[in-house]
């Protein structure tokens, strides 16, 4: 690189170099922009190959000319330090900028400019872009599945109630604060279960019964993730404690249980719950498909939660155990008041990752015939009236999942910061 020191500015002649360099870079970017947005090639008089590579060459030379160790100009120094450290980096920088410029027009035209959203039938979609009409028409199904249209207020009501009840923890009253843990661990799940059982499923209080086979779409994704999340956490905690126990039988059983679930793919677990598990139940004993799936996923994820929590337990120094014991605490007292609060704080990111994996695993329930949002998409895709819009459907679902998962990971990051205690 040192050989290339000619054409490099020093602090005296910086201005000249700066103007030439910026001029060259602008030309390079202008060329690519014109090419990509207006489909005109200003270098078309050159041979194909050279015309193709020209912006890159000009841009690299331009970046090379303005590369200086220290100029005193704030923006230039920032630029040189971050994206223009050497020739290799300069080329990569340009390539990324060009790729972005190149991909904006086709993306925009498919996503917005040429897309259709008006109309109610496939015929409305004449443009070359996306057919959002398809999503608009099917949106109801994507969210509620086959749940009867006139009864959908029941799903809405229970979700709104559950979200509202989740915010109880924000009430700044000292009286309530004492019972918060109890509320979130025991009472809230029971309320949720009752709400979903009586309101969404119906069959009592004059509400029409809706079988679980009709549930579907995004609401089913939420229901399954919610219950699995609630169930897998306590089970995982007991398994983790079991694995760290002094009692050999308890330890070996926990290890066997955890390693079994961690060793098999979720899809085979779901197969088991749908085809093999009914064989193990007493005759005439019927267990709903949805319940079986929730149990299967909860046990599966519990094994992962257990391993995460075990990591937290192992990370605690021995002194914590010794100190608790020296105060005369028994096994349970020691764990509930001393060990677990600290261990759980340590493993917030790990638990959040497990929960994220759980949400991302919910589409797998198509194996047993339950259709949450991805399953509904596959169903809608094969509808003869709406053939050929698979892309729109998957992009739509991908955006929804991405928002959910990204929000969850950001939230867990905030929790991690909030509960971080210096040791």
């Amino acid at each position: 690189m040192n050989k290339l020191n000619f054409l490099r500015p020093n602090i005296e002649n910086l201005n000249t170099y700066l103007y030439v360099g910026i001029f060259l870079i602008s030309i390079a970017i202008l060329d690519v922009t014109l090419n990509s947005f207006f489909n005109t090639n200003i270098t078309s008089f050159l041979p194909n190959f050279i015309s193709f590579l020209l912006p890159l060459i000009i841009g690299t030379v331009g970046l090379h000319i303005i590369r200086i160790e220290f100029s005193g100009i704030k923006n230039l120094d920032l630029l040189n330090k971050n994206i223009n450290t050497n020739t290799f980096n300069a080329v990569l920088t340009l390539l990324i900028i060009f790729a972005v410029i190149k991909s904006i027009p086709p993306f925009l035209s498919w996503f917005i400019i040429d897309a259709t959203i008006s109309g109610d039938t496939k015929e409305a979609c004449t443009g070359t872009g996306a057919c959002w009409t398809y999503i608009k028409i099917w949106l109801n199904r994507f969210i509620y599945g086959m749940y009867p249209n006139e009864l959908q207020w029941r799903i809405n009501l229970s979700f709104i109630a559950l979200i509202g009840l989740a915010f109880v923890g924000l009430i700044p009253s000292e009286k309530i604060k004492k019972f918060l843990t109890l509320y979130y661990v025991v009472i809230y799940p029971i309320i949720a279960f009752v709400l979903i059982y009586y309101l969404i499923s119906g069959g009592a209080f004059g509400l029409e019964w809706v079988e679980t086979g009709a549930w579907g779409g995004l609401s089913l994704t939420f229901i399954v993730s919610f219950f699995c999340l609630i169930f897998c956490f306590p089970v995982g905690m007991f398994l983790a404690l079991g694995r760290r126990s002094d009692l050999p039988t308890v330890r070996y059983i926990s290890v066997g249980f955890i390693e079994f679930w961690r060793g098999v793919p979720l899809i085979t677990v779901l197969f088991m719950s749908s085809v093999m598990f009914p064989m193990f139940l007493p005759e005439d004993f019927f267990m709903d498909k949805l319940v079986r799936v929730i149990i299967a996923i909860s046990l599966f994820e519990a094994a992962y939660v257990a391993e995460v929590i075990r990591g937290g337990l192992q990370a605690l120094p021995r002194g914590q155990y010794d100190a608790a014991k020296s105060l005369g605490m028994g096994y349970w007292k020691m764990h509930i008041f001393v060990i677990l609060p600290q261990a759980l704080k340590l493993v917030i990111p790990g638990i959040a990752n497990t929960f994220l994996a759980l949400v991302k695993d919910t589409p797998l329930i198509f194996v047993v015939g339950l259709l949450e949002i991805v399953g509904m998409l596959n169903l809608a895709k094969t509808n003869p009236k709406w053939l050929g819009y698979a892309m729109e459907g998957y992009v739509f679902a991908a955006i929804i999942f991405w928002i959910i998962c990204y929000a969850m990971s950001k939230y867990s990051y905030n929790l991690e910061i909030k509960y971080k205690t210096d040791r």
Partner: protein, 383 residues
Amino acid sequence: MNFKLNKIIPQLATLLAVILVFGFLTYNAQVNMDNRGIEFGFGFLTQESSFDVQFSLIDYDGSHSYARAYLVGLLNTLLVAFIGIILSTILGVIVGIARLSPNYLIERTAAWYVEFFRNIPLLLQIFFWYFAALRALPLPQDTEPMFGVFFLTIKGLFVPRFVWENLDIFFYSIIAAIISIVIIRNYARKLQENEGKQLPVFSISVGLFIILPLLTFLIGGVSLNFSVPELEQMSNTSFKYKGGLGIPPELIALTLALGLYTATFIAECVRAGIQGISKGQKEAAASIGLTPRQILKLVVMPQALRIIIPPTTNQYLNLTKNSSLAAAIAYPDLVLIFAGTALMQTGRAIEIVSITMLTYLSISLSISVLMNWYNKKIAIKEK
């Protein structure tokens, strides 16, 4: 006395509970199977399977047994896992290193790649590639070849196939090359330790690796030809490729999705590993006069790998388990062939699901046993 009882009672209670649950389940299964007149057993494995499989690495048709169908599925699963692991490792290492780049744009691009692909369910990605992206490819008769020999069509990717003659001799020559390279490396190390002489080990190794197999072409009677796929018209509208090797679109979609998805996790492992090496290590290495390449090879990499390899192996395991999603797009893997078709035909739910789960379980357990052994071996021996 009291102390002992404290320890024994919970153990007995757990044991009793587990035995009771298992006993209850087995009893129910016995009753249910008696009612349906099913006999528990693995005799069905030798029966004729009478179903066909679209894509198989070994000879297989309906006249073979269920056991062979199982083997076909297992090999297909391992194939997907193998290709996916290679793809995700290459991509993951590149992205992981890019995450540490001083170049802001590269670092952000890599970060967005990770955030994007990690937060979308794998199943959705597989569906996207299979039903949306690959379906947009042209029909065989409209396809322009890439580099004259590759055809990427809606029916899959068609590539030239190697036609070997005396492949075994070529194979032995490669083994011989590897063995001699190992011997030379050991000899060179001894030479350096005892006499301080250095051999150009790297160039000798490369030379051996090229020359030995090349010799088999010249004097061993080994020859290599290519069978290039050619389009053949079967009828007015139906076209087919003759010769060459056809890679089904299911396999492409699956490996692509698995590779892109798992690469995000591997990238994070690589980043964490390299970031885990303290600056002092590099500075210490530089201060005793090692060159940058030597620092990377002798100081940074051995330590970084110790952090990188265990979680990465975990990701490989996850990839192998995730390859069971193949069933969703009808790629004939273990789950689809065995837990799907074979189960449907024989109705032997307990046996087949157990075999399938045990297969995955033994793959996972054997790899984690290997991993534990490796971790013990490379662990820093602290005083």
